[in-house]
Symmetry: C2
Subunit: 669 residues, 2 copies
Amino acid sequence: MFDRIDEMSVNAIRALSIDMIENAKSGHPGLPLDAAPMGYVLWAKQMKFNPKDTHWINRDRFILSAGHGSALLYSLLHLVGSKVSIEDLKRFKTYSSNTPGHPEYGVTEGVDASTGPLGQGFGMALGMAMAEKHMAARYNKPDFPIIDHYTFVLSGDGDLMEGISHEAASLAGHQKLNKLIVLYDSNDVSLDGPTSNAVSDDTRKRFEAYGWNYEFVKDGNGLEEIHHAITRAKGQSEKPTIIEIKTIIGYGAPNEGTNLVHGNILGKEGALSAKKKYGWEHPEFTIPQEVYNRFKETAEKGMKAEEDWIQLFKAYKEKYPELADEFETAIHGELPKDWDRDLPVYQAGDAEAGRMTSYKMIQQLSKNIPYFWGGSADLFSSNRTNVKDEEIFQPETPEGRNIWFGVREFAEAAAVNGIALHGGSRVYASTFLVFSDYMRNAIRLSALQKLPVTYVFTHDSIALGPDGPTHQPIEHLTSFRAMPGVVLFRPCDPNEAIASWKLAIQSKDHPALLALSRQDLPVLPGTGELAGEGVARGAYVLSKQQGDKPEGILIASGSEVPLVIEAQKILANSNIDVSVVSMPSMELFDQQSDEYKDSVLPHDVTKRVSAEMGSTLCWGRYVGLDGASIGIDRFGASANADELIRLNGFTVENVVETFKSLKMKKQLV
Amino acid sequence: MFDRIDEMSVNAIRALSIDMIENAKSGHPGLPLDAAPMGYVLWAKQMKFNPKDTHWINRDRFILSAGHGSALLYSLLHLVGSKVSIEDLKRFKTYSSNTPGHPEYGVTEGVDASTGPLGQGFGMALGMAMAEKHMAARYNKPDFPIIDHYTFVLSGDGDLMEGISHEAASLAGHQKLNKLIVLYDSNDVSLDGPTSNAVSDDTRKRFEAYGWNYEFVKDGNGLEEIHHAITRAKGQSEKPTIIEIKTIIGYGAPNEGTNLVHGNILGKEGALSAKKKYGWEHPEFTIPQEVYNRFKETAEKGMKAEEDWIQLFKAYKEKYPELADEFETAIHGELPKDWDRDLPVYQAGDAEAGRMTSYKMIQQLSKNIPYFWGGSADLFSSNRTNVKDEEIFQPETPEGRNIWFGVREFAEAAAVNGIALHGGSRVYASTFLVFSDYMRNAIRLSALQKLPVTYVFTHDSIALGPDGPTHQPIEHLTSFRAMPGVVLFRPCDPNEAIASWKLAIQSKDHPALLALSRQDLPVLPGTGELAGEGVARGAYVLSKQQGDKPEGILIASGSEVPLVIEAQKILANSNIDVSVVSMPSMELFDQQSDEYKDSVLPHDVTKRVSAEMGSTLCWGRYVGLDGASIGIDRFGASANADELIRLNGFTVENVVETFKSLKMKKQLV
């Protein structure tokens, strides 16, 4: 079924990839040259997608988990007629081009996920396949399969060595995600050399152990073989499939089969030699019309598929108008009109742990937003992120909205990225704040891809007590505040917690991180009126000084705000008149106008003390050279929480003494 | 072979665990109650260790990867006669006790690794088994098996769900670490409930895919069965072994077999009921003498084993005095006398990438320190951390000193922790700085355990260029500076890089992180004389102002130091007299005396500008409210490095303009 033009099309992908890389004098030719055939078969013959509308919700997804092979993806996008021109290919890896070194979601039309950090493409694909299954369960009706697509991944050897591939594959097998299909570019070579120096896994056995279907293609250039394997994979009704396709890295290049061709350009002669081997005699960046024509058939098939779907959805909308409305709201990333009805309300005198306020919010948000779902890495009972009236997301109950990620934090975060990328959901993930370490690079990818996922991180300080230093976060608040594109909230009481969740759920372009307490936090005077706007602005004067201008400022976040409010009272008894600033979100505060910032932290008030049960590193910018930070710059300990808090200096007395001991600001010499 | 006293001893472990947890009113009874039999068999019958000398280098290692089951470990340590008394058990989870919530290395004699963050015990055990094999290859001689021991791990279901278990098991299988034996406490329950909600792996198939031997014990109370399985595992000559032992979580407790017993105390009645089921009729914290006597046999066997070994080592030392000297120096964590001979020397006019200076250092350190080894997560070619005259650590060449970790960053870091914990090596790990994210919690465990491992993180800024934002670190420098117990170095030129490596290799109690450039860094005037002391102090005046006191200070680290030196010259042309401070290590600077700090950053000089190609968050504490930080608080981009550097404001002009635009310090109102 494959002819000469198909072969030529495969070589067109290779030639374009070579030209891009040579022109950029940088890139990874190894994968594009060996995986061009599988890329071709998939894109030209198997995938359902419309190159003219890369956002169609029911398209098949494609994730190049081995993101360094980006030239393959850009070549394909160009050939099928997406918005990647020859000029774009010539701008490969240059500033502000749509052909960056690794695929970037939001930068290039048709790129379904940002990849490069190995293994995470696989993890995001897990999430996409979960989203597909969940949405199909919720929205599909007899004769109306409005969500019905595959998720394809192209993985290299490196992806499968990464631990996240275990987490993701194990969960995918458990969830019976039969529409997840991984093409494994098995070339036995990684950056440093033959993989036989580092790995001896039996891939078939490994994936069968996870409950996967395994297919083997012995010749990576065998178009028919690849095609049939994909077809068999599509026929699976219960198992995800991995197709191991044996290839020769850098196929056709002088150094084919070695790591020298993984990430080094071929050079002029190498490029010529490879093209000669392919029988490719066209000038650089020049594609014969018959190849374009062949790809056009693909494009037309894809356009037709979307047109059919649009008709289907029209009929669906007539028959199920409410569900269709919800579906449209969901896939446009909007919230339902009444998303914030009946949210919990707190009164003075109430006290509640941050995680419990979050629990109540999640219950109500779940009622208000039918496409809101999420999970925990086996810490539902502690994070309190389970929705009690909803089922577990399982093969038998794919409509379930509680995702049991298992003890797999990294895959959890990658999966929620995938769910968000898929579209149609509002999603959250949870674990202890300290274990955010396990998922850190996936949170970075949430931020880089501007995904509005919410991370619920409970047990936000040493106040978790006896579990000890391995469980007590210290550096985590600072480390996330340093990460671009995330917004971290550390609310001081139930009112701020509600306000934080409200901002998190309304995000359109960034992940929100909620750092929530295990211990009770009393409702503080004033937050009822101030928290809404105050949290949105990142910091605000929660308790004013008595006079016109404060003599000093006490700044705190989270569970330390009540402490500094007490200290303010004691200081007032000594006729020291300070204000108290609650700072739930540094990132949001930093975005405010200079005027607002100065109203909260007047520049000429330099006697400032911050208090937060975490690293002091990030507080210097607010307290300045003349201020002081009460924090924790060592590891915690296994002890009773109250004792630990006291031993670390989080007492009213220490705040008061620290303020009193601040030196008067020195004059300029 | 097991009798009534053995059964009673198993129940003694259970009873003590219950008593500890009830007394502390906190803890995880699930594992200790179900795993007491395997713990007993292992410790009483199979393990070679001397409870009176828990540091003996040739002891079998034991790692409780499921660290929440700490009560099991403390009970065993008590019963075998280590330094854990009944009083200590009564102080379980209290401040400064030697029985913290999770096992902590360095806190409790006989605890071989700090565990709790799941999966990492498994990863550290990988490293220990690698260290054993490597040291055996180097030091053992015919009839002198001075290193010859097993590494035992007790893992739970959670450990095996974690991705790191894949990375570690895959590498262990590849390395044919036959002396690594994992007891898998297979109780089918995790914190949130039955594991069947989240995982369906076929463990046998999975581990066989990694090249492991698999043993199955169907009754977790079957002492003989467990014993024989361990004996068979010890008999393996090529394969690591996992023994899946089916248990009932919280065996004997009213809620046995459910997650309710995982992390909740039994309560008075529950405790009584469980003890009744065991036929245990002794008062709390009371152990019959016949149980102590039985454990005494174990202890005596262990003492005898060490005595024999001491004799063996004496004879070895006579026959191989040099090797024995080296061995002793190594296991005491010392460096050879001439460890710093022939280190690279640089001249004015030289220029070299940080990673290349590091490469040269590693070559020479490797010559000088025969027990110095390390590896890369498939980035040797980029990190330049391979030793060219040494072999790959492989089954055929276990004396090899280049460890190919594969694309497994997390296991890499856990493994170097294990190698360091084992003793007898100086070890390093490497990857790109941005991918430190993948290993972050293991680095935290390096710090918490005070392990002197060196992390070589290359490609330390956006200056890596075209690979784009997924590969460009931004927040990483700040995020490590916030982590307690690590020392991060970001050297500005070859002299500082040498000084940094020298400090790293001399560390006895902390991990060192080297953030190294991909691009060339010129040797700066003055570093030849100043870098040694200057780096040790964390920051120093590299280029003085002209007058007595600077008008302002330019502070920078790494590749930005040359930039501020140029800016200093330009400012001098405008009669603005500033000093330049190179700050390779904030952590070390913060440890200096106030006097030294003030000599570098005089408190009354408040016009300060910092420059570093990373998050500005941590610089506020040095530049104060009146200073400014030039940094990068957004993601990078795929582009030519020079263009990217310029676009992010790292130009001499921008430094000069930023300094000039600093407002004069406002006066106090």
